[in-house]
């Protein structure tokens, strides 16, 4: 199961890289993907069944737009701070709590946090993330969670859990 899912994923990637549907390319790509999946099926994750549910792909698609929106907003925010001669920053490291349990979900959450509004994930311990925040609005765990994590968690919960 794991090997099959991993083969399909790697094969799709191969087609996207080569960008051609020549049967020679496709056959070689299939063999390569199968061999690599037998050695290292890590890309499929611990529960490969999740790759079969179409709902997850739909949410990934929606999430992509939300993410781009958040990222552009983050960058405009950072740009304003950088250009402003008084450098209005108020940094600190806060602690937030997440509901996500899978490793892939935590990876996606941490990466999203790093790329969006003024936040940078410093460490992750169990259910808690430590986040460097360029403009600390509240030191409280609950409030910070509401501010930083909730927006992404809505989507990532469906995609990865």
């Amino acid at each position: 199961m794991k090997v099959v899912v991993s083969t399909v994923v790697l094969f799709v990637l191969w087609v996207a890289i080569t960008g051609s549907f020549d049967p020679q390319e496709l056959s070689v790509g299939l063999i390569t993907a199968a061999v690599i999946s037998m050695i290292a099926p890590g890309v499929a994750g611990p529960e490969p069944k999740k790759w079969l549910q179409p709902k997850r792909y739909l949410f990934t698609f929606i999430y992509l737009f939300y993410f781009i929106y958040a990222m552009v907003k983050a960058n405009l925010d950072v740009a304003m701070r950088v250009i402003n001669p008084r450098l209005p920053i108020n940094p600190g490291i806060v602690k937030v709590k997440t509901k996500l349990k899978t490793h892939a979900g935590k990876l996606a959450l941490a990466n999203s946090i790093t790329l969006t509004p003024g936040t940078l994930s410093v460490d992750i311990v169990g259910q808690y993330l430590y986040i460097h925040w360029i403009d600390v609005k509240s030191p409280d765990i609950e409030a910070a969670t509401q501010e930083i994590v909730k927006g992404f968690e809505r989507f990532l919960e469906v995609i990865f859990e």
Partner: protein, 117 residues
């Protein structure tokens, strides 16, 4: 024609964000804040520039999309690893930082909260 105009616009925006990232690197007071601008602005800048080229030449679109996907996947990881390493190494936050929950919890020991995985 519309594609070309859009592509050129994206290229321009991308270079502008790269430049802002440079200013951020110059002005910010400590490592963590530099990382904030250094990661976010360069990632969006590079992404926008690369996708601009991909839109300018529509037949390259897939490859540029894959390049941007990998930048999205790898750039925050390196930044996160560096932030964690700097904090563990004991590089202090800048003056005027409000709080540091991570240091507080490290003194108490992080182990007790590792309950899952």
């Amino acid at each position: 024609m519309v594609y070309r105009a859009l592509g050129e616009f994206l290229i321009l925006v991308g270079s502008l964000f790269l430049f802002l990232a440079g200013i951020g690197l110059l002005r910010m007071p400590d490592v963590y804040n530099r990382m904030q601008t250094g990661t976010k602005a360069t990632t969006l800048g590079a992404l926008s520039l690369i996708m601009g080229v991909g839109i300018y030449h529509p037949q390259w679109f897939f490859k540029t999309a894959i390049i941007s996907l990998f930048i999205l996947l790898t750039n925050p990881v390196s930044s996160h690893a560096l932030a964690r390493a700097s904090h563990n190494k004991g590089i202090p936050l800048a003056e005027g930082s409000v709080l540091d929950r991570y240091a507080e919890d490290k003194e108490r020991g992080l182990k007790e909260e590792e309950n899952d995985s």
